[in-house]
Symmetry: C2
Subunit: 402 residues, 2 copies
């Protein structure tokens, strides 16, 4: 007998018919001889609707009260799912985050799980109940309700799987798994049977929004085997784990991110601390910098180029213009750019990977403005208009088309 | 400085504008120098909407899960009201039933309050917070959520007032107070300045649905002074307390109840236990019997007449027809009847009250089919079509028209 944690997002429980569909998946798993803990998000647009209600009354409401409000969303979905499972004739109980033992810190709206007191969960499993747990929420030391922030239900599911030493954590979504590229854009995209945590993290960061990043980090830390699969189409999904069996594919995926602004400062004095001062200034304003390139400029100066989110582009430029060390230097900000990346744990032992990617782009006459590499990722900044064509070209160069 | 508990029903917080209106009433009370605890119900139709969602999935859902579902309703209203009060610049915190210390038994859907652990409530009041508490809900010994049943928010408010020894418990509704008759039917109806708990209880039982009966019983038990007043029109309401100052009025109100079926069994054998057997049979099927009259019939038999709710009329007749002792006896069931009652604690010391009521009906040529009296109430069963005329006639006979 295995213990399986299953997580269903808001769209999977959006209405009565979908709740019944989820109940059937859960009860099939239970009837196959498994213990099952189910984690669910709020139904469909419930969270957004509640936020709208709050904004109408007070756009600057205390975050504690926002969490008190929003946690009602999963309370509704867990009890409805429990009723659906009960209707299918199986023993079931729903638990709110605090009833399931989710203790968090007190950062309302983006709380971190400190621990899960599993007594109640284990008692209910021992009674052979299917346990339906509210994702996204917990309780702090003051007995106040907290939320983990958007996408937090994935984290809830992985945390339960880790705390209960579950055999598997299945994340049900509206896609059938993790693909080598966005299947809506690249028809040749393939579903991956397996992928490593690190690869999944790079893909998530790069915009393949299948799994919440924190949940993958936690799964890696506690060695929780994840499976990403579809709640609508019952086929095998993608397994995320530490080591995967070798496949012919060198890379796991090709992604595109158009939410990029490329900022350049030309002719900075070549003194120690210049880069530090600039990025410290940006960090103060919570502006995340992604790729950074520093190069030697003319006459003993240096040039600095980096990328930020598109919306932070103008803000970053304004901050830089106010700095003494920038005084008079030329600052440019380009927003018509995109980042195209390949991810794969195997590439570090294949020196030709980068050149193969550049060759594919060159063959399409696509100009590379910036390059960044890590052990399992290569990203290039190119013209935004050429992004889709670049993804296809790179995908076809790397992913065998069988 | 006084401690005032204020309770607002679902219609008082139905939308953003009404929530802001309630916030103004609460903050005015606080700014006048009082500590304030506010108890609110779920917004408008929220509870009914949640019940509909449940029925769509499972009409026979476990009551534990129904309570898990329904308690989300007040969770939404308390956080929104807290946000509204915060917007008006005052310190505020919302508390769910369990956070406010409401411990109940485990009768899901109709739980009884066992005690209120007031630590948190008192700590928040000591911090000068306005405390917004979810009515209608609590927690049982298993850490599961419970509801007090419909109208339970009144009970929540009175229970908090009793536990905190509040100076007053104000119940805000959509009427301005307790009237001597339904003001929509009897234009001469007067708002009462004061009324005793017992009178209020009789009026509530008789269909003047201003206050939940359990809440009045609890207010009486713990001597909590109640005030019924309007959330839309800020004028003095009706005070409910143990003893009221004498007024010229002998009676407090005239009520009408058309939800009555009058059942008669004629010619029963005059043996011991006949009445017991009949009413035990009805009690088994949870049929409440209201007025009972037993009279001597012809030839050593007896006749039994009693009233039940209209919907229970045919069921009661069917049950009786199956009984051995009824065999062959004539059973009639009239549903075109109404009960008209007068209530007043003063009437017990005024022997002429009943005859004054009967005289008023006689003057209107209204035939009385059945009479029932208690220390503070006189009820008559009359033809349903004459009910409104009867209420007016009796009202005008008793209530001085100044």
């Amino acid at each position: 007998m295995s213990l399986i944690v299953q997580k269903f997002g808001g769209s999977s429980v959006a209405d009565a018919a979908r709740v019944m569909n989820v109940a059937r998946i859960v009860t099939d798993t239970y009837r196959a001889g498994n213990d099952v803990v189910v984690v669910v998000s709020a139904q469909g647009d419930t969270t957004d609707d509640l936020i709208d209600k709050a904004l109408e009354i007070n756009p600057n409401a205390a975050k504690r009260e926002m969490d008190q409000l929003l946690t009602a969303g999963e309370q509704i979905s867990i009890s409805l799912l429990a009723m659906a499972i009960e209707k299918l004739g199986l023993p079931v109980i729903s638990l709110l985050g605090w009833q399931a033992g989710f203790n968090t810190n007190s950062v309302y709206g983006a709380a971190r799980i400190k621990n899960i007191k599993t007594n109640r969960l284990q008692a209910e499993i021992a009674k052979h109940n299917i346990v339906v747990v509210a994702g996204f929420q917990g309780i702090n030391r003051y007995d106040d309700l907290t939320t983990l922030g958007r996408g937090g239900s994935d984290t809830s599911a992985v945390a339960i799987a880790a705390a209960l030493h579950a055999d598997k954590c299945q994340i049900f979504t509206d896609v059938e798994g993790v693909y080598t590229a966005d299947p809506r854009k690249v028809p040749e995209a393939k579903k991956l049977a397996e992928i490593t945590y690190d690869e999944m993290l790079e893909l998530a960061t790069l915009g393949a929004q299948v799994l919440n990043n924190r949940s993958v980090e936690m799964a890696k830390k506690y060695s929780v085997e994840l499976e990403v699969l579809s709640s609508l189409n019952p086929v095998a999904g993608t397994i995320v784990k530490e080591k995967v069996k070798m496949e012919k594919m060198l890379i796991r995926g090709v992604t595109k991110d158009k939410d990029v602004a490329l900022i350049s400062v030309v002719g900075l004095e070549d003194n120690p601390g210049v880069a530090f001062k600039i990025f410290a200034k940006l960090a103060q304003k919570n502006i995340n910098v992604d790729i950074i390139l520093q190069s030697v400029g003319r006459n003993g100066t240096k040039d600095l180029t980096f990328t930020v989110n598109k919306e932070n582009g103008p803000i970053a430029v304004e901050l830089l213009e106010d700095m003494e060390i920038i005084d008079g230097k030329k600052i440019t900000c380009a927003t018509n750019v995109a980042k195209v990346s390949i991810v794969g744990a195997g590439m570090e032992s294949h020196p030709g990977t980068a050149s193969k990617m550049f060759e594919a782009l060159y063959a399409q006459n696509i100009n590379i403005q910036m390059i960044s590499t890590s052990e399992i990722k290569i990203s290039v900044i190119i013209d935004a208009e050429e992004a889709d064509r670049a993804v296809s070209a790179v995908h076809n160069a790397f992913i065998p088309n069988d």
